[in-house]
């Protein structure tokens, strides 16, 4: 036997072992947990409905224009588009045939009953800490109250062989280990409840925590690294830094956070993009106590080293200049032309109607992605029962890259704001990102 043959044989053996280990995880890594769940228990079902809101299941499993939980929402990955699945209790195309153990393994461990590993677009690395009784309530709700919809799942557009699922078994071994919620004994009851929701069902980290080389969240709970909820970009939206530090939530009070999650806006800001969906599908349904718990938990997330100080604005020279008709600053003329009607010369907008640009943390965030995307593509506040009207900003994609770059640099540094500039290249890249947004799949809407 020559060396080459030996190497090839060894490689083949290693590959076979790798395949077998990943393929077999359902048999040794993810136990089946059976439980009796009473579908006649109205209270349990009601709790399941509430928890489904908390878990924001609808945001992904309901496509725009589609039926509740019938799947079909496209999600962009570097390799192609994957589609959320039908989680209605339809026996053939949904989860109607799932036993409790099947359901539990899918939600907490990312495993389908046929042993196929789920993409981590399903936030099972977060859901794994959800307690048994909550999973049972969710199961009761989905199986007994959600209307069954017959709709086949849409295959992903990821090409073979990259669409093989067994390597996800290794991903799960590396990044989705079994664990349970560990309350911090130093925390009061509200902060503990907030931690349970934020780290678990609400899966805030799925967007707000930076991802690593394997697309894994670099922290699944607050730890010494300080990465948990420190801000990340997904589909061109910057899910902002939520830590208690300078450009994080240092400028937000707990009351404002509660108000924002409940109503989609505060006196100076408004949700748009993906967060508007989160509020519309999830947080607006949560009890005040749970929203307070989330706010209390977020407000106590410690700052990273060197970032302890509250963000403070510089002296505002913009308002006086614009009111005096001094449009000499780069971008100022365009601001008065396109933005000032709503956001005003003083950058304060109109409370709960048009968001302020002064002292608004998404405007001076480390990463300008959300600001760029909302300017190009527009955005809408979520509609909630709290306010009579919800407002929309049109997109300004018809403006030239140079104009937009000047405009956004002006806004990020106006009225006492101070932040990095926005370049023509940033605008160009975001245009490309927007052009690549996946289309959703909701054929049952046409039936």
């Amino acid at each position: 036997m020559n060396t080459l043959k030996k190497i090839l044989l060894a490689g083949a053996a290693a590959f076979a072992a790798a395949f077998l280990i990943a393929w077999s995880t359902p048999y040794w890594y993810v136990p089946r947990l059976e439980a009796e769940v009473d579908f006649a228990d109205r209270e349990l079902i009601a709790r399941g409905r509430y928890l489904a809101h908390a878990g924001d299941c609808a945001a992904c499993h309901t496509a725009p224009g589609g039926k509740p939980f019938a799947g079909g929402l496209g999600m962009q990955t570097p390799l192609g588009t994957i589609y959320s699945t039908n989680i209605t209790p339809d026996k053939d195309s949904g989860i109607g045939h799932y036993s409790y153990a099947d359901f539990e393994r899918a939600v907490r461990r990312g495993l389908r009953p046929d042993g196929v590993h789920l993409y981590p677009a399903m936030p099972y690395p977060s859901y794994v800490i959800v307690e048994d009784e909550d999973i049972q309530a969710l199961y009761a709700y989905f199986m007994s109250e959600v209307a069954a919809v017959s709709k086949a799942n849409q295959p992903s557009t990821i090409p073979w062989p990259l669409n093989m699922r067994w390597p996800l078994g290794w991903w799960q071994l590396a990044y989705a280990r079994p664990r349970s919620f560990e309350p911090d004994p130093e925390h009061d009851a509200s902060v503990r409840r907030g931690a349970y929701l934020v780290e678990g069902l609400a899966h805030c980290g799925a967007c707000h925590t930076p991802r690593g080389i394997g697309f894994q969240e670099t922290a699944l709970r607050d730890d010494a690294s300080g990465r948990f909820l420190s801000g990340s970009v997904l589909e061109g939206w910057y899910a902002k830094n939520l830590r208690g530090e300078d450009r994080g939530l240092s400028t937000w009070s707990a009351d404002e956070i509660v108000n924002f999650l409940k109503t989609g806006r505060t006196a100076r800001s408004a949700a748009f993009g993906s967060m508007a969906d989160v509020i519309a599908h999830s947080t607006r349904h949560l009890h005040d106590g749970d929203l307070r718990a989330i706010a209390d938990y977020l407000k106590q997330l410690p700052p990273r080293k060197g970032r302890e100080a509250r963000w403070t604005p510089r002296e505002d020279t913009t308002t006086a200049a614009l009111r005096a008709g001094d449009y000499a600053a780069r971008g100022a003329l365009q601001y008065v032309e396109h933005c000032a009607l709503c956001h005003r010369l003083d950058g304060r907008g109109a409370p709960r109607i048009f968001p302020a640009l002064a002292d608004n943390s998404i405007v001076f965030a480390e990463d300008p992605s959300s600001l760029i995307q909302v300017t190009l593509a527009g955005g809408s506040m979520p509609r909630t029962p709290h306010d009579r009207m919800a407002f929309t900003m049109p997109g300004f994609a018809h403006l030239a890259d140079r104009e937009l770059a000047d405009l956004l640099t002006f806004i990020r540094n106006g009225w006492g704001n101070h932040a990095s500039g926005v370049s023509v290249r940033d605008i160009h890249q975001m245009r490309r990102e927007i052009a690549h947004k996946p289309t959703h799949y909701a054929p049952e809407a046409q039936q």
Binding site: G11, L333, Q334, V336, D346, F391, T392, H398
Partner: protein, 303 residues
């Protein structure tokens, strides 16, 4: 045995290729990038003879009288604050002439300079540009006329002249300053009141009082009361107001440029809500007796 490494290599290549494809492929950035809104240009026989593109404000800077045009822009935007002796209420010219008079169906200024002087039915006489501007000062802004040779009047006219660009006087930009509304619709102010509460009051206030900023300047203009337009204003007339509301209100509710305006009400609803707010208490217009001296008074005239 040799197939496995080749599969791995192929997989790697495919991965690389698909990532490359993702980064390179797809639609060009945006076909609309840098393209301003534009409209057909019509000759007196309504034949299309060209296009008019709304000029960006940066275009002002290449004109010799840029300073005057920018002053005009400012006066139109912030009339109440900058000309307190001439504005009786709290309104600005651009409270109605939305987004600096650059809004399709939103009392735009595209054809303004080319339309005057003309015979206005209300005056039954030739009205020139300055006369028309002063009509607004006395009625919509419930104030006093500007001296026709003042720097302020010249600046306002300079802005209109700039916005026209090089469109010859005989041609017309094909977008109406006011949209059409069915004047046979019968208004119902009771329905109008309910609509006002749901669709208007958030910004214009439950009592039509508008909303002010930290300096006391209006963010949203008052729709009735002492600070609002007087009964001599076009906006005080049901169907004129209804047309404005139908095409432009509320603002910030959809993706229509420039300000996400209109499209929320039916024509009937616009007529109902217009009837409601136009007929709320507002200042009188003392020289009202001079209007429509030769008759032909429209049916929604207030006097």
């Amino acid at each position: 045995m040799k197939t496995l490494p080749s599969v791995l290599i192929a997989a790697g290549a495919l991965l690389g290729l698909s990532m490359l494809a993702w980064s390179q492929s797809g639609a060009p950035a945006d076909p609309a990038a840098g393209t301003p809104q534009s409209f057909a240009l019509l000759d007196p026989d309504n034949q299309v003879v060209g296009r008019y593109s709304i000029p960006p404000d940066s275009d002002i800077l290449r004109h010799a009288n840029a300073e005057e045009i920018l002053y005009g822009k400012r006066l139109l935007n912030e009339t109440a604050r900058l000309l307190p002796d001439n504005v009786g209420g709290g309104l600005n010219c651009n409270s109605c002439h939305l987004s600096q008079g650059k809004t399709d169906h939103g009392a735009n200024y595209f054809n303004t300079i080319n339309s005057y002087p003309k015979v206005m039915p209300r005056a039954a006489a030739m009205v020139d540009m300055a006369g028309r501007v002063n009509g607004c000062f006395m009625r919509s802004m419930n104030g006093k006329p500007l001296p026709v040779d003042s720097a302020e009047m010249r600046a306002i006219i300079a802005y209109f002249t700039w916005l026209r660009e090089d469109v010859p006087k005989a041609l017309r930009v094909d977008t109406p300053s006011e949209g059409k509304i069915d004047t046979s619709l019968v208004p119902d102010p009771v329905r109008g009141k309910a609509l006002y509460a749901a669709q208007c009051a958030t910004c214009h206030g439950d009592d039509g009082e508008g909303m002010k900023d930290q300096f006391g300047d209006y963010i949203f203009p008052p729709l009735w009361g002492d600070e609002s337009f007087n009964i001599g204003a076009g906006m005080a007339r049901t169907y004129k107001a209804a047309a404005f509301v139908f095409y432009n209100m509320p603002m910030g509710v959809n993706h229509k440029l420039p300000i996400g305006q209109g499209g929320a009400l039916t024509q009937q609803e616009a007529v109902d809500v217009a009837e409601y707010f136009t007929h709320m208490p507002r200042p009188d217009f003392a020289p009202k007796g001079n209007d429509w001296p030769k008759g032909n008074k429209p049916k929604d005239a207030r006097y």
